[in-house]
């Protein structure tokens, strides 16, 4: 039987725009994944801690305030510190295309910008299923 993939959807920083995060969380749940949502205004430390406690395979970060260049890589650093850098991190929100290479270099494996259909997010998760299952 296929492993139940676990995903944490997190809102780092002070941004309260949670419509996208909640939609993604619910849509992934409906697609059969186990999903945990952190709620808004979480520090990168808190998100990394929750990811470890909840034993998730993916962390999806959502941010619309423009603080992604600082806060997304900080989540990666915190996961490393928790020795949980096998967790796959992706992100979304109002993120200019110019910023994506920097985020990728920092270890954010996919960035989904406004208008992305949910099937693209699911395709990304499924493309990494083997990696997760062979852990």
């Amino acid at each position: 039987m296929a492993k139940k993939i676990r995903i944490l959807i997190g809102k780092p920083g002070l941004d309260g725009h949670d419509r996208g995060a909640k939609y993604i969380a619910r849509a992934l749940k409906d697609a059969g994944y186990e999903v945990v949502y952190t709620g808004i205004r979480q520090s990168p430390e808190a998100i990394a801690r929750t990811a470890v406690q909840e034993d998730v395979d993916f962390v999806g970060l959502s941010l619309l305030s423009g603080a992604h260049n600082e806060l997304f890589p900080e989540v990666i650093r915190q996961l490393k510190q928790e020795k949980a850098d096998d967790i796959i991190v992706f992100g979304g929100g109002v993120i200019p295309d110019d910023d994506i290479p920097g985020l990728t270099a920092a270890g954010i494996e996919a960035v989904f910008t406004p208008g992305t259909p949910i099937k693209d997010v699911i395709a990304f998760i499924e493309a990494n299923r083997e990696r997760v299952e062979s852990k």
């Binding site: 920083g13 002070l14 941004d15 309260g16 725009h17 949670d18 419509r19 909640k22 939609y23 969380a25 619910r26 849509a27 749940k29 999903v35 949502y37 709620g39 808004i40 205004r41 520090s43 305030s65 423009g66 603080a67 992604h68 260049n69 600082e70 806060l71 900080e74 109002v94 200019p96 295309d97 110019d98 910008t113 406004p114 208008g115 259909p117 949910i118 099937k119």
Partner: protein, 557 residues
């Protein structure tokens, strides 16, 4: 008397009793208004016969109860709505430049966007502020920043709207203090603070304190401004963010008015008389693409609020029953794909707001799904309002869609849905309880989810997103905020801390702490005193955090 005669008589009465007074003080923009091809336009078109009593009861005349047709007797024939673009980013210096630019382009009011640390009561050097300083608005730490923000802008000549909620009292105090420094007395200050904490719990997220002390701060502001800052709109009860979070049009009105009812009840419970504060309550709604539903929504909102204030709260003054509102076009309707199309969306939404009788309007810039708006994009957004005002002709007669079978029926149906929600919330014990139970959040989330699923299945077409797509180049010229800003702002703050009279700051903060412990004391004078002594926003809010505690979100999925 025939129905037609009855209506003519009612019109005559309105003209003598209401309209004349307004025209005597505020003449209309022109002596006569004509269509593009020269036909004279009547001020107010009326039904040709029909049930006159029913007309008067449901629609009435502009500037009279139940205000379905608008809150002013002459509406935009007297003067256009206030064109007010929400703006602010980076430092106070940069935002001051943007305001001067906007005023130079014909904008008629200011609207200040604060960054998230300011909105949540953290100083720029607070660890919570990492990455967020100056991003979605201007960073304000102390009175010094506020002095720079309004440098060269006389506060007796502009009206200023400030999108600030949990720390609204502090920013209002900064504003009053800047006024004093410019020699402008409190009773000359005009503007609005958002000050609407309930929708922060529901949808926007910049809360600090739990509901009870938050409501105290809000009612303290009502009481303080009624005496000291009489022209100030003490709250802007906001449906905008509820809609952005994904609610339907009827939910937007229902939850906003339910929030309003909660504030009125809180002020009454604090011993205030309804007519002393209700006239300074203002509202803030969204304008989406569904033009006719939006117009019906605005008309229904006015009628419901008037009835609630009169029948439920026994308001006597007309002003207390008027729902005056600001509108912003719908940020969540804008697309990152083919962003120029957003100009057209905003134009439709502008029409909705104007046909719905808004008092002021912010039009979004085409590039907002990509990042902060550039100056060029802001100019086009402002021009969109100016074109609707000066060229479309819709502002030359009052409530032009009244009497449309469809619009009136939609207005009635929205009213009915809203009333059902209001009754349900009342049954739950009021809005604070409904929010704490997560009921309101869940209703909005379900609407948002349904809508997004419809987009995914292309049942709902979004041009350029799920239909009519093209291959596009990545957009250029996106405005960026300097990431070194936090450091710069922290240095400015350190300099203020070094030069201020620390013992005066300590004394002011201690007095504030003592006042916070006694619910019978109005906190505004204490906050103003601390602000004038250059206590920072974070220092003031931390005192209140200590005393009041902090709100924790109830997560509903």
């Amino acid at each position: 008397m025939s129905e037609k005669k009855k209506l003519e008589k009612a019109l005559q009465e309105w003209e003598d009793r209401v309209l004349k007074k307004t025209l005597d003080h505020f003449p209309e923009r022109r002596e006569t208004f004509t269509t593009g091809s020269g036909m004279e336009i009547e001020r107010l078109a009326l039904p040709d016969g029909g049930d006159a009593d029913r007309y008067t009861e449901k629609l009435g005349f502009p500037g009279t109860y139940p205000f379905t047709r608008g809150v002013q007797p002459t509406m935009y024939r007297g003067r256009f709505w206030t064109m007010r673009q929400y703006a602010g980013f980076g430092t106070a210096e940069e935002s001051n430049q943007r305001y001067k630019y906007l005023l130079g382009q014909g904008q008629t009011g200011l609207s200040v966007a604060f960054d998230l640390p300011t909105q949540i009561g953290y100083d720029s050097d607070d660890p919570h502020s990492v990455g967020e300083v100056g991003k979605v608005g201007v960073a304000i730490d102390t009175l010094r920043d506020m002095e720079i923000l309004f440098d060269g802008i006389p506060l007796d000549k502009v009206s200023t709207s400030m999108t600030i909620n949990a720390p609204a009292s502090v920013l209002l105090a900064f504003y009053i203090a800047v006024g004093e420094k410019q020699g402008v007395s409190r009773d000359q200050l005009r503007g609005t603070i958002q000050n609407d904490i309930l929708k922060e719990y529901i949808a926007r997220g910049t809360y600090i304190f739990p509901p009870k002390p938050s409501l105290r701060l809000i009612t303290n502001i009502f009481a303080y401004c009624a005496k000291e800052v009489p022209q100030w709109n003490t709250i802007s009860i906001s449906g905008y963010h509820i809609r952005e979070a994904g609610s339907s049009a009827a939910q937007e009105v229902a939850f906003t008015l339910a929030d309003g009812i909660a504030y009125v009840k809180a002020a009454l419970a604090a011993g205030q008389d309804v007519d002393t504060f209700a006239g300074r309550l203002s509202f803030f709604f969204n304008a989406h693409n569904d033009l006719l539903e939006e117009v019906a929504k605005f008309r229904a909102a006015r009628r419901i609020w008037a009835r609630v204030m009169k029948e439920q709260f026994g308001a006597k003054q007309q002003k207390s029953m008027m729902l005056r509102f600001h509108t912003q076009t719908g940020g969540s309707t804008l697309t990152a794909q083919q962003p120029d199309n957003n100009i057209v969306r905003v134009a439709i939404q502008t029409l909705a707001a104007v046909l719905g009788g808004t008092q002021s309007l912010h039009t979004n810039s085409r590039d907002e799904a990509l990042g902060l708006p550039t100056e060029e994009a802001v100019r086009i957004a402002l021009r969109t309002q100016q074109i609707v005002a000066h060229e479309s002709g819709v502002a030359n007669t009052i409530d032009p869609l009244a009497g449309s079978y469809f619009v009136e029926s939609l207005t009635d149906r929205i009213e009915q849905q809203v009333n059902e929600y209001l009754a349900k919330i009342e049954e739950m014990g009021g809005m604070v309880q409904a929010i704490e139970k997560g009921y309101v959040q869940k209703e909005i989330q379900d609407s948002a989810y349904r809508y997004q699923r419809e987009i995914e299945s292309a049942e709902q077409v979004v041009v350029g997103v799920n239909k009519f797509q093209i291959q596009e180049e990545a957009p250029k010229d996106i405005l960026k905020v300097d990431p070194a800003l936090r450091e710069l702002q922290s240095k400015k703050l350190a300099a203020v801390r070094a030069e201020r009279d620390q013992s005066a700051v300590d004394a002011a903060l201690a007095a504030l702490r003592a006042a916070a412990k006694d619910t019978g004391i109005n906190l505004m004078p204490h906050i103003l005193e601390a602000a004038k002594r250059y206590a920072s926003l974070g220092e003031i809010c931390n005192v209140l955090r200590d005393e009041f505690g902090e709100y924790r979100e109830s997560i509903i999925l």
